[in-house]
Subunit: 206 residues, 2 copies
DNA sequence: GTCTATACGTGGATAGAC
DNA sequence: GTCTATCCACGTATAGAC
């Protein structure tokens, strides 16, 4: 579990990566020059190139480091042996808190066009954290806690609204902090779950 | 109602904009040079600069022209006097069809980081089409057809899953064409609506 | 209105000293 | 391992002919 960002980097690496993160989010990857990163981080051009090879590799390291952090957070949260619905609720809560607490990270992860500067990188939703989300939904579904829909639709149904709200917040069209909407999001989720219950009951009767 | 893309442009404009759209989606705005657009469109550098001023303004024209097309489509669909839920269903259907039929357009609209190259442009979800989506939800809510949640949460709940599936399709993680998922998406929506019914009944009883 | 050739600035990357 | 000065390629935008 790592609350410190870039826990897998040393002091210099952290300074560079956090400066790069800020600049990439504020101005975009292509509008940020290495010189900008040098200024913002206080680390010299030479040191940056020595460490990261080139600008693209720097961005890749940044993304990987952030993803590792998220993966750890998710893992800690999901190792508990609570039932899948409780874990889904906890995950939604975590996503809202995280997006409000560290919008830069979340923006860069969810919202930057990585393919444009990292053509080889797989899309975010093909990576572990998103995979975990889908697994969680499938598990709940197998326990008849959620309705019998296509798993991909169901994942979209369970986590889509939260992700949309996060995007809305990032775009500046949500007036209040994200956790304020948690209760309503979870209520909507409950309706889906109740539907799971009804299916369950119907199946038992047949 | 305009099915022809760039209906508001003449022949030259259309050639340039459709080439630019394809390149921007494939390689990204910053990885596309004006020379690339010249090659792909067969229109000369001079003509392009004469018409569009500069590369940024070209991108802006492209985005605006596409948004106008969508706005028209939405408008035709929403002028009918059918009840709001029918219109919501029709809108979801349209979005799925459109995203499957013209993924380039949808990718550029929903998924490109416009702020990086059009810093002055308002975020997509602040524009008319998204506004119409929110209005539609509020209307259904006032008629007690949807549960009494925060309107922004409810919009996310109604359209979020569809938008997530579209993104998944664009990222290549959906195996089947989008309209194949329509039925399941609408079923999930029905659960929300039923909840609206129950609230409605409860309110009537009190 | 359209074309080609070109100027100019920017920025990624490196060389070579320390 | 770190720094600074510098090189060179690329791409936007324009000048000026047709």
């Amino acid at each position: 579990m790592s609350l410190t960002p870039f826990a897998d980097q040393d002091a210099t690496g952290r300074r560079v990566l956090s400066a790069a993160l800020r600049l990439f989010v504020e101005k975009g990857y292509f509008n940020t020059s290495v010189a900008d990163i040098v200024r913002a981080s206080g680390v010299s051009t030479g040191a940056i190139y020595h460490r990261f090879g080139d600008k693209q590799h720097l961005a890749e390291t940044l993304l990987d480091s952030l993803m590792r952090g998220i993966e750890n957070q998710f893992a800690t949260l999901l190792t508990g042996d609570s039932d899948p619905l409780t874990r889904i609720r906890a995950l939604i809560r975590l996503m809202l808190q995280q997006a409000e607490a560290d919008p830069q990270m979340v923006t860069f992860i969810l919202y930057a066009r990585h393919r444009e500067f990292l053509p080889e990188h797989p899309p975010i939703c093909a990576l572990r954290p998103f995979e975990l989300m889908r697994d969680l939904v499938t598990e709940a579904q197998r326990a008849s806690l959620l309705p019998d829909l296509d798993p991909l639709v169901l994942s979209a149904q369970v986590f889509g609204p939260t992700l949309r709200l996060i995007q809305a917040r990032i775009d500046g069209v949500l007036p209040r902090p994200l956790p304020d909407y948690e209760a309503d999001l979870l209520r909507a989720l409950d309706y889906l779950m109740q539907e799971g219950d009804r299916n369950h009951a119907a199946a038992a009767m047949a």
